[in-house]
């Protein structure tokens, strides 16, 4: 019985995949959607395979997007975490700039594309920085929340046992890690969203966003879907990696 449950939970989440593929194929066969707009799974996977393996542009674009998103996340973490800690520790600083941070966090980052374009030009910089900006704000906020909500009893317990200010700070930081990871995960998702849009909209020469956009312009539907799926796999992969890292290093989260 137990075996069955393990089997069930482990593979259940993939059960939707064949159903999805069957429905997709049925829709194509029954011509419910214009076949020009929706190729079948077969041609799409052929396009995906070609794009990724035989020196097609997809592999190159994938690499470029990954590299830019990683740069953006790195910048967001390096700046966002210390700023967030600072805000979390000092209530006065937090209150004085809460409105500004909140305002920019609520501003759709895509509205800032022209501004970043103006400042940093059409190169990689504008895309990386705007992505970092979006992810950074989320990371700042979640880090600050994590630090502010560090359980008082735990910090007090450390103090009672003789922990010096530095050691108490370590307790607060460890205490904020689960919330930090929440920020990191949404930050990474957001960075990818902004990056793909930036690649489509602000004069890119490569990247997954450009790939999807170009294939659509050329009306190469299988290649376009291949680009979309690659972007999806990238987002899923980022999430999966973060999930594994979190499970390994923040094993106490949610417990």
């Amino acid at each position: 019985m137990k075996r069955l449950t393990i089997f069930g939970t482990r593979y259940l989440r993939f059960a939707g995949l064949p159903i999805f593929l069957i429905i997709w194929q049925l829709v194509v066969w029954l011509k419910i959607v214009d076949p020009v707009l929706l190729p079948g799974p077969g041609p799409t996977f052929v396009a995906l395979w070609h794009g990724l393996t035989t020196g097609g542009p997809l592999a190159h674009d994938f690499g470029r997007t990954v590299s830019r998103v990683l740069q953006a996340i790195l910048i967001a973490i390096v700046i966002g975490v210390p700023v967030g800690v600072l805000l979390g520790v000092s209530e006065k600083i937090y209150q004085s700039i809460e409105f500004i941070v909140d305002f920019f966090r609520s501003t759709p980052t895509s509205a800032l594309f022209p501004l970043f374009l103006l400042i940093f030009g059409v190169g990689d910089q504008a895309k990386v920085y705007i992505s970092a900006f979006a992810a950074g704000l989320v990371i700042v906020f979640n880090t600050a929340y994590g630090v502010m909500n560090a359980r008082k009893t735990r910090v007090l317990a450390a103090r009672v046992m003789g922990a010096r200010p530095f050691d108490r700070m370590v307790v607060i930081l460890l205490e904020s890690l689960p919330q930090n990871f929440i920020g990191l995960r949404s930050g990474v998702s957001l960075a990818l969203v902004i990056m793909i849009s930036a690649e489509m909209l602000i004069g890119s020469t490569d990247g997954l966003g450009l790939r999807v956009f170009e294939e659509q312009q050329r009306f190469d539907m299988p290649a376009m879907y291949a680009g979309i799926f690659t972007a999806g796999a990238l987002g899923y992969g980022f999430n999966l990696i973060l999930h594994l890292v979190e499970k390994r290093f923040v094993h106490w989260a949610g417990k």
Partner: protein, 269 residues
């Protein structure tokens, strides 16, 4: 961390009643938002005794404990431990909420070892101390687990070991068993009693359960409503080790009844 010679011998037998006090509280004052909780509160506690604090709701049982332990600032008065302030002595503190007091990122073992980090000991010395405390109290739980993998009772046991590992001069416990189920509470009371008998560390416990307060204590400190004064300081002259049979002991019943009378009188005031 200079300790008077007498405190080093923590397994000493119960000292004579005439001995000079371990804890001396003089003129203690505490106000919260204009409400006076303590005003010129005086108390002396003897070394090596187990003292339960009991009183009406809101009389400041935990406040008293936290004032003595230095977790709350005083508005006046002094608390001295054989002439030393709380910052000059080693003490242990056990919180009611073990979930928030233990560090979930450390294993139970590392939680117990945590306070030793601040005592200038080598890694080997720290390990020896942890091993010693585990062996001394014959702990049979898997201490490689993380707190969240343990039951509530086990977690609180780890908290108590963490407080005892530094060989404190005095141990404070703030309603340590009130978040546990009844079965675990009974088990923990006996663990607590066993540990006390072995170390004879001066122990202050806040309890909301009169039976528990009397069962564990050498003396029950009964408090009045705020502004709080000592209503009664009852000696529990019942032999140790105590067991469930103690609950039927005539002297135990007499003390418990007496405490209940004092308590009822104070509540009605």
């Amino acid at each position: 961390m200079a300790l008077p010679a007498s405190s080093m011998n923590i397994a000493a037998p119960l000292p004579a009643r005439s001995q000079r006090p371990h804890v001396t509280i003089q003129g203690l004052c505490k106000r919260f938002d204009g409400n006076t909780i303590y005003d010129d509160f005086n108390l002396e506690l003897r070394r090596g005794e187990f003292i339960s604090i009991f009183g009406p709701n809101g009389c400041g049982k935990s406040t008293l404990l936290n004032l003595i332990a230095g977790l709350l600032p005083r508005d006046g008065g002094s608390v001295l431990f054989d002439g030393a302030t709380i910052d000059e002595i080693k003490f242990g503190y056990v919180f009611q909420n073990y979930r928030d007091a233990l560090f979930p990122w450390l294993s139970a073992r590392d939680n117990i070892a945590y306070p030793l980090r601040f005592m200038g000991l080598s890694k080997i010395q720290r390990k020896e101390k942890v091993d010693a405390v585990i062996e001394r109290f014959a702990i049979r739980i898997d201490l490689n687990k993380y707190p969240y993998q343990m039951s509530g009772g086990q977690q609180q046991l780890v908290s108590i070991l963490r407080a005892l590992v530094v060989e404190p001069e005095i141990l404070f416990l703030d309603e340590p068993f009130s978040a546990l189920d009844y079965e675990m509470t009974l088990f923990m009371r006996d663990q607590m009693q066993r540990m006390f008998e072995q170390t004879r560390t001066t122990t202050l416990i806040v309890s909301h359960d009169l039976e528990e307060a009397v069962y564990l204590a050498d003396c029950v400190l009964l408090l009045t409503r705020a502004p709080t004064q000592v209503a009664d300081f009852t000696v529990v002259d019942v032999a140790r080790p105590r067991s469930f049979k103690t609950l039927g002991d005539p002297e135990f019943v007499r003390v418990k009844t007496h405490c209940l009378e004092v308590f009822t009188r104070e509540v009605r005031k």
